[in-house]
């Protein structure tokens, strides 16, 4: 009979040491801590330089950032607040339209119109989502899925916000470098800022709502208000993506509410690793270029895409980031039971 064995996982010594103050005791340990972060940040910052010869792939790199922002927004709401949002497209579209109005109607330059579109858009999204925040369960998912559809039809039917034509003639960026680095830097800063925020006490309260909202209520904290703040933060990410993108393409239309923009980020989160915030970034980095490459397959694109996703869900359901973190921090060995 085969000897019964099980896999044992043990933290690497360097991981244990660098958890505490000793992290600063040697270059090796500092490098261990900073290495992965530096790789990610450096890699993203190099993208515009590496992709300089190809304007097409430069644009794809920016699409990566847009999907990453939406994916981080999804990951944050789903795994830290406990709200499953299917409304990436809603955040994106509202942010895009707000920025477009700020640019075309008020004549604001991008440096003002984008932040204005982001903040106002996030405020509008939050206000519209507040009614379903006291409810638990799938209501939030349903409402967030419905809103983009609602917005599309509303704009079509009433001809508001430029109707089916949308807005054109939005002021673009002054240079390609500004355009590229503006988005990449904000994306990276946003992700790391969100991670820091979640480690603070205010972030802890948000995570507590996911763990156990009754106990948060019993602690004299308004759960609905806390959720509203979290939704605002998540909407900031989505709205920024939309506001930035309309300035890149200098127009906006009802395609900004396309369902793809809700689905793609979720796929990126699943591949990258749920609950890590950085994982979605990596997921987007793989998924968006893959999706571009698959354009050659024509209508089979979605089939291949779906196969890749299914493969990931079945074979690597924890996501790349969780897998990589485990490998980086622990070693495994077989032991006899």
């Amino acid at each position: 009979m085969a000897q019964a064995r099980r896999k044992e996982r043990i933290d690497r010594g360097i991981k244990v040491r660098s958890d505490s103050i000793y992290a600063l005791s040697s270059w090796e340990e500092i490098a261990y801590l900073l290495g992965p972060r530096a790789l990610l940040i450096g890699g993203f910052l190099l993208l515009p330089v590496v992709l300089l010869p190809s304007p097409y792939w430069s644009r794809v790199a920016l699409s990566v950032c847009v999907v990453a922002l939406l994916a981080v927004s999804f990951d944050f709401l789903a795994n830290f607040v406990g709200l499953v949002s299917l409304g990436g497209a809603f955040f994106y579209g509202i942010g895009g339209y707000m920025a477009a109005v700020a640019s075309t109607e008020l004549g604001l330059p991008p440096v003002v119109a984008i932040p204005a579109g982001t903040v106002l858009g996030a405020a509008v999204c939050t206000l519209l989502l507040v009614p379903c925040l006291p409810l638990r369960g799938i209501y939030f998912a349903i409402i967030t899925l419905m809103y983009p559809l609602f917005m599309t039809r509303l704009i079509e039917a009433t001809e508001i916000l430029g109707g089916t034509e949308g807005f054109r003639g939005i002021t673009g960026f002054s240079s390609r470098w500004t355009e590229q680095y503006g988005l990449i830097v904000v994306t990276l800063a946003g992700v790391f800022a969100l991670r820091r925020f979640l480690a603070e006490d205010a972030g802890l309260v948000i995570r507590a709502v996911k763990d156990n909202d009754q106990a948060v209520r019993a602690s004299g904290i308004n759960v609905t208000w806390t959720k509203a703040k979290a939704v605002f933060v998540a909407a900031l990410f989505g709205c920024f993506a939309g506001a930035y993108y309309v300035h890149m393409y200098r127009n906006v239309g009802i395609s900004s509410f396309a369902l793809d923009l809700s689905i793609m980020p979720i796929a990126a989160t699943v591949i990258g690793g749920s609950g890590t915030l950085v994982g979605p970034l990596i997921g987007a980095l793989l998924l968006v270029p893959l999706s571009e490459l698959l354009r050659d397959f024509g209508s089979l694109r979605i089939v291949v895409y779906a196969l890749v996703l299914t493969g990931f869900v079945v074979l690597q359901s924890e996501g790349l980031m969780n897998f990589a973190t485990r490998k980086y921090q622990q070693f495994e060995r077989w032991v006899r039971v």
Partner: protein, 261 residues
């Protein structure tokens, strides 16, 4: 005013709660004086927890009123009531399972009430709340220098979880602390170590309401006891009067048989 001429801190007047046709609590009236340890006893299903849920806002009473320090709090949201200083533990313990024990207390310490009346040193900075949280846990019997306060709450044994529930309330510096069966599921020695804790909280000026099945232990700390049966108040008074009351014996034992106390 009650018999001792004190203004009650909590007045419950004609409180009823119906779930469809089921009368869970029926016309219950009682008062709790400041500094009391007020016990509520009754067999399973007699409406004790429903009563607490109505007082703390987790359920809206069908009829009746709840007053706290003379102020009407009936039907207020739970977080508003907790914010006023009426806190409760849950019978089914509800720690934040994925967080370390001390982080469980950082959440109530971040609440508006803790910031306002807490008087914990250093209300604002991140590091300070952690220290205060460990201080509170130490008071509750978590050995400071052991690893216990830093363990993930989900891995703690029941005794510590009960203390954590109490800690979550104490962090709010409450005026009224309502304990829903803190002794249940604990061994005799664990209860013996909790009783002095309850006494200490009472001596700090916190009014305590205890729902309890463990009558012997309850009667060591309670100075007034109310018995419920089928949602109705049967009797209220000194612990010994209550326990000798025929209706209480009947409710618990269904007969005139001896009562273990």
């Amino acid at each position: 005013m009650n018999a001792r001429g004190e203004r009650p801190i909590l007045e419950i007047q004609g409180l009823s709660k119906q779930f469809g046709g089921v009368k869970a609590v029926e016309d219950v009236t009682f008062q709790v004086a400041p500094g009391d340890v007020f016990g509520i006893i009754g067999p399973n299903g007699s409406g004790k927890t429903t009563l607490i849920n109505c007082i703390t806002g987790f359920l809206k009473p069908t009829r009746g009123s709840v007053r706290f320090n003379g102020r009407e709090i009936t039907g207020m949201k739970p977080h508003r009531i907790a914010d006023l200083g009426v806190t409760r533990t849950f019978q089914i313990m509800r720690p934040y399972f994925s967080m370390p024990a001390y982080k469980n207390l950082v959440i109530p310490l971040s609440s508006p009430r803790a910031k306002r009346v807490g008087g914990w040193r250093g209300g604002g900075r991140h590091g300070d709340r952690n220290t205060v949280a460990v201080d509170i846990l130490e008071e509750l019997g978590f050995e400071r220098d052991s690893r216990v306060p830093y363990k993930i709450a989900g891995t703690l044994p029941t005794g510590y979880l009960k203390r954590l529930e109490l800690g979550r309330c104490i962090a709010l510096r409450p005026e009224v602390l309502i304990c829903d069966e803190v002794f249940s599921g604990l061994s005799a020695s664990e209860i013996a170590s909790l009783v002095p804790l309850i006494e200490k909280l009472r001596d700090q000026g916190i009014t305590i309401i205890m729902i309890e099945h463990r009558l012997r232990e309850l009667f060591r700390v309670a100075n007034r006891v109310m018995a419920l049966s089928y949602g109705e108040k049967v009797v209220e008074g000194e612990p010994l009067e209550v326990i000798d009351h025929p209706k209480v014996r009947e409710a618990y034992l269904g007969s005139e048989e001896g009562f273990t106390c």
